[in-house]
Symmetry: C2
Subunit: 430 residues, 2 copies
């Protein structure tokens, strides 16, 4: 049988990382790789009550086909919880915010269209855009996100710039108030729409991040949000807010894709959110993740012998200047390792010493029962192959301590091998 | 702000029918338009028990991110319930079978690719394929589906043929055993893959339909199934079965679209299906829908004064020869109306008298508080504007009687106006 693939499908390849990460499902491996929220934070009993209530009160409607736009009370709740004036008519409920990226790509990207992204950027966005065959252009970025001047320089002909301003995946960095103002102004001056992705914004540790970019210019932005990190990812419930100029097209694309997001899960979440549940629940997630972030930073300081690093626009690490996190225990000798101290979210970004390729390192780390995600796939342009992403939310504090020690041992071993190899080479050349 | 749309999005237009059908949400309108399963058939209490069990036993896992392929026990259950030898590894759980159509389009259709469809075909498939900008080619069809000779004539260069062999949407027609054998042979001879959509196959009234086309040639077919019609559509749960040659690409497309289908609803359905629940439940749906089909056929006979029609390949109505459904009550004078008597599913297809355009008729029908879907949008090629689709599953028997009487009155009035207009014209011309 002759299956002729579409050109876009010919380019799809099984993710090398995905294959490596399958190994991490071995029972003894502590994974700092996946972006899995801590299951401890899932409000299981509240969901049980919500399911029972929804089925008892509205069982038939909760199981019937429903509107493509989403469940009206949930759209109102989304509009109400956002920190700018949002009309519920502009809210589209999506099957996870990942689906929002797919819809946006369908509506805004032709083959060869230029789409601007951060350096590095969320891998899932690159994957969602890719079937529409755009040209992804990496905008120079530092620890606060994209640099406005480079955005201006590259904006010409761009369909949109994709930004994740809060506790970015993968770097954990956050765009400052001043940077937001500058980026918003640069985008408006260039007539460049912004797609703002904000799955982590509620997971701040000490203070809420600045207002979203969309709040500054709602007509020029599409905003993506998610219930995955504040309630549970397994429901696949997200939303987008789009201006009137573009909403009807996104709605039509949504209808063609899955008719509507499951109405049962929409009603579940709507029921759970009643009576200010999130106001009580989200602070418990923040407290847990902050504790785990602190544990990871302390372990990194101890095991790698270095503090969280200041930023460097020329050689952007992508984090904030080190917090006053107490160093715990005796430090090992310092290595040429950099890492940031994220102010929220789920991820921390490291740069390994000169000569270490983090993709090669992963196989060795898995031998020591620790896993991470190499940084290279997050770059639309030339990757920094020394970088890697750690999640501090899935593993416990004890697991984090064990895993970071194992990671440091892996790096020290790799460096020792490298030195030995260099000596051998030098001897051979002598 | 300059929003530049993708070419595919420029072509998306709000569905005229969707706009008209919004009117049908008025309280007094009896809608025979939407394809909404009867909510009476939703096993609300079984779902309530399943939710409670899933959250009590596996709450955290049921709310966490999950595999893109789908929940393993559900994939096994799907493989087990299909009437040919299916490896669970070839099953991909989708967010409704509509999503399967989107994934297939992404993986198999380039702009301009030829995709073959029935005459008429499922509108939602045309909508799902459309963003990939294929050329949809209508294959001549009669009351048993596509004609093998025309399929052969048009197969050259086609990426696949999309077929809905059981109780088709919109016509209600079913492909006979002989036609399946001929179509399968024609597709294989031409090296043309088949995408087989089977959302209604379990809803047979007197006897199960013949084996799926996929069972005859699994390597040459992608099969789409759904839980929407046998359990509940509001969960948006469907699946596809694809050969090894194409499965990995569909999986990658799935991952980019929404990471995975909600694991909570997958586990709900898996829990509900335990212990042979469907074997007890589905017969109750069949019995209800058969009773409602009978009521609609009887009402059509009475109000339009005609029987269900035999088929005519030259002028394909798309139904089976009239069943022995008892005529109820005195018949009104016969009109030049044709309709089929479907052997299962949810829909019945009518052809109005000469001179009636069913799209124009809809506005008049809504004035009499009855709604249907005009047939024209279901045609990829030249539409038969006299056709329309009626659903017999959402309305009760009493509502069906009232609605068909109102529909017949609308048609008689339209014909009378037409005759009056013709006489006026003739007088004016005289």
């Amino acid at each position: 049988m002759k299956w002729t693939l579409a050109a876009r499908a010919e380019k799809m390849n099984p993710s090398a990382i995905r294959e490596i990460l399958k190994v991490t499902e071995r029972p003894n491996v502590i994974s700092l790789a996946g972006g899995l929220p801590s299951p401890k934070t899932f409000p299981v009993s509240a969901f049980a009550q919500a399911c029972a209530d929804v089925l008892a009160n509205d069982g038939q409607a909760a199981l019937q086909y429903a509107a493509s736009e989403g469940y009206a009370p949930l759209r109102r709740a989304v509009a109400d919880m956002l920190p700018w004036d949002v009309n519920p008519d502009q809210v589209l409920i999506t099957t996870g915010s990942q689906q929002g990226l797919d819809l946006i790509a369908k509506v805004l990207l032709d083959p060869g269209s230029k789409v601007l992204v951060e350096t590095p950027t969320y891998l899932g966005a690159l994957q969602a855009f890719s079937p529409m065959e755009p040209q992804a252009v990496s905008v120079a970025s530092d620890g606060e996100g994209v640099l406005p001047d480079d955005l201006t320089a590259k904006a010409e002909g761009g369909r949109f710039v994709y930004l994740l301003p809060n506790f970015q995946n993968p770097t954990g960095r956050t765009m400052s108030e001043a940077r937001r103002a500058a980026v918003s102004a640069a985008a408006q001056a260039a007539g460049l729409p912004i797609v703002e992705d904000n799955p982590y914004g509620d997971l701040w540790f000490d203070e809420a991040p600045p207002l979203p970019l969309t709040a500054r210019n709602p007509e020029g932005c599409i905003y993506l949000g998610s219930f995955s990190k504040i309630l549970a990812p397994g429901l696949r419930l997200g939303f987008l807010v789009a201006p009137k100029a573009i909403y009807p097209k996104l709605l039509q694309a949504k209808q063609a894709v899955d008719l509507h997001t499951p109405i049962f899960t929409q009603r579940m979440v709507s029921a759970v959110m009643k009576d200010g549940f999130l106001d009580r629940h989200v602070p418990t997630i923040r407290a847990l993740y902050k504790q785990q972030r602190d544990a990871m930073v302390a372990a990194l300081q101890r095991e790698f012998g270095v503090d969280g690093q200041p930023l460097d626009a020329e050689r952007p690490l992508g984090g904030q200047r080190g917090h006053a996190v107490p160093s715990v225990g005796a430090r090992r000798p310092g290595l040429d390792v950099e890492f940031n101290v994220p102010k929220g979210g789920m991820f921390l970004w490291l740069r390994m010493p000169e000569g270490i390729d983090s993709t090669a390192l992963l196989a060795q780390a898995v031998e020591r029962n620790v896993a991470f995600v190499p940084g290279a796939p997050f770059y639309a342009g030339e990757p920094d192959t020394r970088t890697l992403r750690l999640s501090f939310v899935t593993a416990t504090v004890e697991q984090i301590d064990t895993a970071i020690a194992a990671l440091a041992a892996t790096v020290r071993e790799a460096l020792a091998h490298r030195t030995a190899a260099q000596i051998t080479q030098q001897l051979a050349a002598a």
